[in-house]
C-alpha cells in the first residue's frame, strides 16, 4: 500500500513515498512563486524513482506552511503532528522534536506513541530560522554550506544583534571591519539562533531524547551551538529536511488503513 506525504515549506516542497510504512523514495522542488506546481514536481520525482504513478497511491497527506496550496490531498495534518510522528519513527526514544525551517521554528513534545502532547511555535521572527543563517552567510561573504564548518573553528563568539536579520547583517559587517575573525562571527550567528530556539523549547520542557529536523538540522554549526545551549547532544536523522513529509506520509498510511476498513 503506497502512501505519500507532502510538506509545502516556504522554500521547498518535500515529498516522501512509503510502501507499507517503509520509506521508498524522496523528492523535492523549490516552492518559488508556485508551490502547487512545485508539489506536483516533488511528488512526481519521488514516484518516478520507484516507477510508480499517482494512480498507484492510496492516500496523500499534505502538511507545511503552504498547506492550502497542495495540488491534491486526501487530507491534511499540522506540521506539529507530522513532526511528532516522524520523530518516533526515526528514533524510538524521541520525546522532543525541534523543527527549524527556513522561516519558522517549532518544538513538539510527544509521548512514546508519537502522539503530540504539547508544542510551541516561534513564527514572529525570522531571526530564529534558516533565513537568518542565509543572510549572515551573505554578509560574511561565505557560501551557505561553509558557514557551519567555519564556525566550528571558533572557541568563542563575537556579540551580534540577534533580534533582526537586517541589523544582524550590518553587525556582522562591522565586526569584520573590527577584525573579529570570521569563525567567531559565524559562531555568534549560531549561538544567537540556538539561544532563541533553546528559550522556545524550554517553554514546553526539554525531554530527552531531543531530535532536530528541518533543513537547518543539516548545519553542523547550528547543531554545535544548540548542543551547548541545551546541555545535551541532540539526535539528527538522515534527511532531516524530509521529516515533515515523512510524518505526513506515515499519517497517510494509517489513515489509508482506516479508510480501507
Amino acid at each position: 500500500m503506497i502512501a505519500v506525504g507532502m510538506d509545502l515549506g516556504t522554500q521547498r516542497v518535500k515529498a516522501v513515498v512509503l510502501k507499507d510504512g517503509a520509506v521508498m523514495s524522496r523528492g523535492q522542488a523549490f516552492s518559488g512563486f508556485d508551490p502547487t506546481d512545485a508539489a506536483e514536481q516533488a511528488v512526481e520525482e519521488a514516484l518516478k524513482q520507484v516507477h510508480l504513478q499517482k494512480a498507484d497511491v492510496a492516500y496523500f497527506v499534505a502538511t507545511g506552511s503552504a498547506i492550502e496550496m497542495a495540488p491534491y490531498a486526501n487530507s491534511t495534518v499540522s506540521m506539529m503532528s507530522a513532526d511528532a510522528k516522524a520523530g518516533i519513527y526515526l528514533f524510538q526514544n524521541a520525546r522532543t522534536i525541534i523543527d527549524v525551517g527556513a522561516e519558522e521554528a517549532r518544538a513538539v513534545k510527544c509521548d512514546e506513541n508519537g502522539v503530540m502532547v504539547d508544542f510551541v511555535v516561534n513564527e514572529r521572527c525570522a531571526a530564529g530560522a534558516g533565513t537568518f543563517i542565509e543572510a549572515m552567510a551573505r554578509a560574511l561573504e561565505v557560501k551557505l554550506e561553509e558557514i557551519g564548518p567555519l564556525s566550528l573553528k571558533a572557541e568563542r563568539a563575537s556579540p551580534i544583534n540577534a533580534s533582526c536579520v537586517i541589523f544582524g547583517e550590518s553587525d556582522v559587517v562591522s565586526l569584520i571591519h573590527r577584525q573579529e575573525s570570521k569563525p567567531e562571527i559565524a559562531r555568534a550567528v549560531f549561538d544567537a539562533m540556538a539561544d532563541r530556539i533553546s528559550s522556545m523549547v524550554h517553554r514546553i520542557g526539554v525531554n530527552p531524547e531531543v531530535i532536530v529536523v528541518g533543513g537547518v538540522a543539516k548545519d553542523v554549526g547550528f547543531i554545535a551551538s544548540l548542543n551547548r545551549k541545551l546541555g545535551l547532544n541532540v539526535l539528527i536523522p538522515d534527511y532531516p529536511d524530509y521529516a515533515g513529509a515523512l510524518g505526513a506520509a506515515l499519517i497517510a498510511t494509517s489513515r489509508a488503513k482506516e479508510v480501507q476498513k
Binding site: F33, D34, C125, A126, I166
Partner: protein, 302 residues
C-alpha cells in the same frame, strides 16, 4: 562591500554611486574649504563646501570597513576638483560610522547634521525633516537656523528603511531607482501589507504575487505600509510646515507622494539633483560641512 550578496548579473538593489562638482563653482587657496563625511550603514556621502557653499560631493556604498568607506567617499568628492584632503581646513564626520572617520576633526550626530543640511538645501522655512536612511528613520523638528528642536528615531526595526526597499527591489526584480515610479502605476491604491518586518513582508509579498497580484500592486502595498510608518513618526514628533525629506528614500517618489497624501501636506519640492541641484541624500554631509565651517571659525577667534 556587500556587492557579492546577489550573484545574478543584474543587481536590482544597486543604486547609482556618483560624484558631482557644482557647475560654475571655483575655489582659491584663500577660501575656507571644509568637508562633511557621512558614513551611513548603507551609503556613504561626502560634501565639500567653499565658504559655506556647496562645491562638490560624492556618494558611494558603505563597505565593510568604515574608515575605508570614509576615505573612499571623500576621495570621490575631491575627484577632479584639484583639491587634496590637506586643503580641507576642517572635517566633520557624521552618520552611523562617525566615530570611524579617521580624517575628521570632530564627530556630530546625523540628527544635527540633517537638520542643518535640510536648512541649507531648502532654506529657513524648513521646520520638519524626515530622514529615511539605509537602516533607520528619523523625524526632526528644527528651527529657522537649522538647529534641532526635538527628534524621534525609529531604528529598532528595518521596516521602511532603505534596506527594506533594496530587499523588495531584489525580490521583484525591479531596479531600485525605478521602484518609486512603478509603485504608483496602480489604478487603485491597494491595502498596505500587514507585516512590517522586512523578512516577513517579503513572504507576504510572495503570497500576494501567487494570488495573482501584479508587481506594481505588491510594490504599492509595501510602499504604502512603509509610508504609513513614516507618517506616524512625523506625527509623533509633531508636524510643522515646511516638511522636507532627506536621505536615500527622498528619491522614492512612491514614498514621498504617499506621505504627502497621508499627512495632507506637500513637501517642499525636490531640487533637480540629477542636473545641477543639490542632492537631498547628501543633506547630512552638507550639514556636517557647515558645522565644520562654524567650528573652524570659532577656533580662529582669540
Amino acid at each position: 562591500m556587500i556587492e557579492s550578496s546577489i550573484k545574478s548579473s543584474v543587481e536590482f538593489w544597486r543604486w547609482e554611486e556618483y560624484n558631482r562638482i557644482m557647475p560654475g563653482k571655483k575655489w582659491t587657496s584663500k577660501d575656507l574649504i571644509t568637508a562633511g563625511v557621512d558614513v551611513g550603514s548603507v551609503g556613504s556621502k561626502a560634501a565639500i563646501m567653499v565658504n559655506g557653499e556647496a562645491y562638490s560631493w560624492g556618494i558611494t556604498r558603505t563597505g565593510s570597513n568604515s574608515p575605508e568607506s570614509a576615505k573612499k567617499v571623500l576621495d570621490w568628492a575631491l575627484r577632479d576638483t584639484g583639491l587634496k584632503v590637506s586643503d580641507l581646513k576642517y572635517i566633520v564626520g557624521t552618520g552611523y560610522g562617525r566615530v570611524n572617520v579617521p580624517m575628521a576633526n570632530k564627530a556630530i550626530t546625523e540628527i544635527a547634521c540633517h537638520a542643518k543640511g535640510a536648512n541649507y538645501i531648502w532654506g529657513s522655512s524648513v521646520r520638519t525633516v524626515l530622514d529615511v536612511g539605509g537602516q533607520d528613520i528619523k523625524a526632526i523638528r528644527s528651527d529657522e537656523t537649522g538647529r534641532v528642536v526635538s527628534f524621534l528615531m525609529n531604528d529598532k526595526c528595518a521596516a521602511g528603511t532603505g534596506r527594506g526597499m533594496e530587499v523588495f527591489a531584489d525580490l521583484l526584480k525591479i531596479p531600485i531607482e525605478d521602484i518609486g515610479g512603478i509603485s504608483l502605476k496602480v489604478d487603485e491604491e491597494p491595502p498596505p501589507v500587514s507585516c512590517t518586518c522586512v523578512a516577513f513582508a517579503k513572504t507576504e509579498a510572495m503570497g500576494l504575487l501567487r494570488k495573482g497580484w501584479s508587481k506594481e500592486k505588491v510594490l504599492a502595498a509595501y510602499t504604502r505600509a512603509m509610508a504609513v510608518r513614516m507618517a506616524n513618526l512625523i506625527n509623533r514628533v509633531g508636524l510643522e510646515k515646511e516638511l522636507v525629506i532627506t536621505g536615500g528614500q527622498s528619491k522614492n517618489i512612491g514614498i514621498v507622494s504617499r506621505i504627502e497624501v497621508i499627512l495632507g501636506v506637500k513637501c517642499l519640492p525636490m531640487p533637480n539633483w540629477r542636473e545641477n541641484g543639490l542632492d537631498p541624500m547628501v543633506a547630512g554631509a552638507f550639514g556636517a560641512a557647515l558645522f565644520a565651517k562654524a567650528l573652524y571659525e570659532k577656533a580662529q577667534k582669540p
